[in-house]
Symmetry: C2
Subunit: 122 residues, 2 copies
DNA sequence: TTCTATGTACGAGTCTAGTCGTACTGATGC
DNA sequence: GCATCAGTACGACTAGACTCGTACATAGAA
């Protein structure tokens, strides 16, 4: 499990909580990212973050997902382990945002596809 | 293992064998496509088809995959069911090619990502 | 016809993902 | 102190993926 050093992250303001453990940019794997997006619930999470997130970080209650908390933990962790989202602890809440810069740098065009995604009708 | 001599490439689709059962363009789902690409073996198949295929259709022996035939059947079927490849029966061989036009129309940029993919180094 | 080559069908085993309930932790507020 | 709230950890269950061996179907060539 990769443990990135926040000191090497030049764009991280000092007043933000430390990001939780996540793969570095070099460790991002396209097949892992796509595997994580293979589940419609997770695809919907990333999609909603890209489309509806007006400010940056959102706790998982914001998504309005009707699943037990333990299931959400599983899916958010899968997304974070794949490198799709970054999570920070804000007091009680663990807020997430998409790693837009990292993903655009490694997989240009991928996030545009996710943003254009529409959930299965019916 | 040399490539089978390229089948005569009549530009009239009527001369080609009928494609095997596959989803229509409207039925293509991004999360299904990405789920199919979540396996490194399948990612490698599509990648090789995009990068190394000089002519159009290749039988699965062309890929040089060291797996039992029944495993390959499973993976190629998964790719076809997801809409990534089209398969046609040429006598004994079932040859495949990527549905480039369909995928570019529905998910522009996706195939470029797969073409840029590199297998996990060791 | 018989042999060979390509690939499917089927079944079984194993492994992992997804699901959920319950108990727990850690921060906030009374 | 105590209660509350967001989220994790853990265990269990289930369904599906991945794997493979074997048997079978079929096309083409000897």
């Amino acid at each position: 499990m990769p443990t990135p050093n926040a000191a090497t992250r030049p764009d991280t303001p000092a007043d933000l909580p430390e990001p939780l453990s996540e793969p570095s940019i070099e460790e991002l794997r396209l097949e892992v990212v796509m595997g994580a997006l293979g589940d419609p619930l997770r695809m919907g999470i990333v999609h909603k973050l890209l489309v509806d997130a007006e400010d940056f970080d959102h706790a998982c209650g914001w998504f309005g997902l009707d699943r037990p908390k333990s299931s959400l933990t599983h899916h958010f962790r899968t997304l974070r382990d794949a490198g799709l989202i970054r999570q920070r602890q804000y007091g009680l809440e663990r807020r997430s945002h998409v790693r837009v810069a990292d993903l655009n740098a490694r997989f240009p065009g991928l996030l545009a596809l996710v943003a254009d995604w529409a959930p299965q009708p019916e």
